[in-house]
Symmetry: C2
Subunit: 279 residues, 2 copies
């Protein structure tokens, strides 16, 4: 961690009574900072607000202004930044009480962490990555689906299924066996000239890059199918790729699980969308 | 909070990089301290170990010894304790890194919080309580079911469904519509001389008092049925009660939801088990 602010103050500790720790009553956002500019700030703030509304976290202009001011302070304090960095924002319900009910007025806590941009051994965005199919399943809960809340044990368990450095990501299905997403990314594939991506009504995180790519594909008159698909559909895909706000787009060139052994090329569409995104 | 230890040191703050906050990769236990003695310490430690194994938290004798020493220190520092108090233990995967994978050796963090014993307006253990049927559902995930991990948003959402002080607890069903538990308690009912409680293979927390009551009922030759039951079965119940390590046993005397409007007496079995428990 390069630096950290808690409610606008340079700090790296939080109360052990924070409801973010106790119950995961909080949200996070992960953004790329490019030359000090946060990419898609507004979209991230929109998702944060949407999540806050669902989790009973008061989200008013004070919070929004607070986050903007925090960001400015973080950047000012950091001095000269590398070309790229990663900003992680955590917003929790605040500290207080014991028990699931919020019985006293609590102020949400804002945490901003500035992290170095990760480096990857090869150039995965150009050459593509190898993935596996995880055994861990995502439970179906429409109340929590889509938002980026702090209850992420399923992702931790899925990510713990491999240690091999030549596997860059895992595909995860829901408990009904349908494709949901990667452990840290959203999944797309192109088949017969149409784009496909799993529906996130029941589980998964509605990524910002996912939102942008769906809109972009529609603008390009590429039909976008959002639904529930079994992993086997990927055997017919012409290209497969994964997205998030830090990696941008990673083409998937191979899946190495017994249940899905398959290779795909780095496709034209992922290249084209990647150039357009310019993360 | 009366007092708090973090890894054996008097403290009330934790790193914002702790994986307990970031992802909920941690567990908690809530115990009653009676005259300074933790009730069912060993059973709580067993559940903690079981949860740690599932979540990839190294749980060795160092942790177990650490928790015992923490408890002794907490009690020694606290001086004279009230007749009863509540001890909350949190064990997290530790602080470090960004991303779901644990890529460097991390030391689990132990947090012990000493809290006053809650007080309730009436004497719910004797006179019984009113409950409602929550709309919030618990998602089905066998990998996370039973253990007391820190991903508790479903409980927070369920508990936020009522503010009325005359409703003491909410019954929660799983996403298939079967009874699971209370927001903070386990559910039992007696029907035709047999005891019933929801199966926790898919969701819910396997409470210590639940474990003890199941064993006790079997010792008393009361058949115990563990299964998946719709809320409607409660209309035929002779007595209904809820359990946890702080409340002990609370008889349910009324449910006030449109989907389940029903009264039950404070039954003999709950009285008898309550005396036996003597929480």
């Amino acid at each position: 961690m390069l630096s950290c602010l808690v409610n606008g103050q340079s700090a790296s500790m939080l109360s052990v009574q924070d409801r973010g720790l106790a119950y995961g009553q909080g949200l996070f956002e992960t953004l790329t900072l490019k030359k000090g500019e946060p990419l898609d700030w507004q979209l991230h703030m929109q998702r944060l607000e949407c999540g806050a509304n669902r989790l009973g976290i008061p989200f008013d202009n004070n919070i929004l202004d607070g986050l903007s001011q925090d960001l400015n302070k973080l950047l000012a304090d950091a001095g000269e930044l590398p070309e790229k960095a990663v900003l992680k924002i955590i917003l929790t319900r605040g500290a207080g009480g014991r028990g699931y009910a919020v019985t006293t007025p609590l102020t949400p806590n804002r945490i901003l962490q500035l992290n170095p941009f990760p480096s990857w051994p090869s150039d995965p965005a150009s050459t593509g990555i190898r993935v596996m199919l995880c055994q861990t399943r995502l439970a179906l809960n429409p109340q929590l689906a889509g938002i980026k809340h702090l209850n992420r044990l399923e992702q931790v368990l899925a990510r713990s299924e491999w240690q091999q450095s030549d596997i860059s990501e895992g595909l995860v299905c829901d408990t009904d066996g349908y494709l949901a997403e990667g452990t840290m990314s959203n999944l797309f594939w192109l088949s017969g000239g149409e784009l496909f991506t799993p529906d996130l009504k029941y589980c998964g995180i509605d990524g910002i890059i996912r939102q942008r790519l769906i809109a972009r594909a529609q603008a390009l008159n590429i039909p976008v199918n959002i639904g529930r698909y079994l992993p086997a559909v990927l055997t017919d895909a012409d290209e497969v790729f994964l997205t998030n706000s830090v990696i941008g787009i990673w083409p998937v060139t191979e899946c190495v699980s017994p249940g899905l052994q398959q290779r795909w090329p780095v496709g034209n569409l992922s290249r084209q969308l990647s150039q357009w995104l310019a993360v």
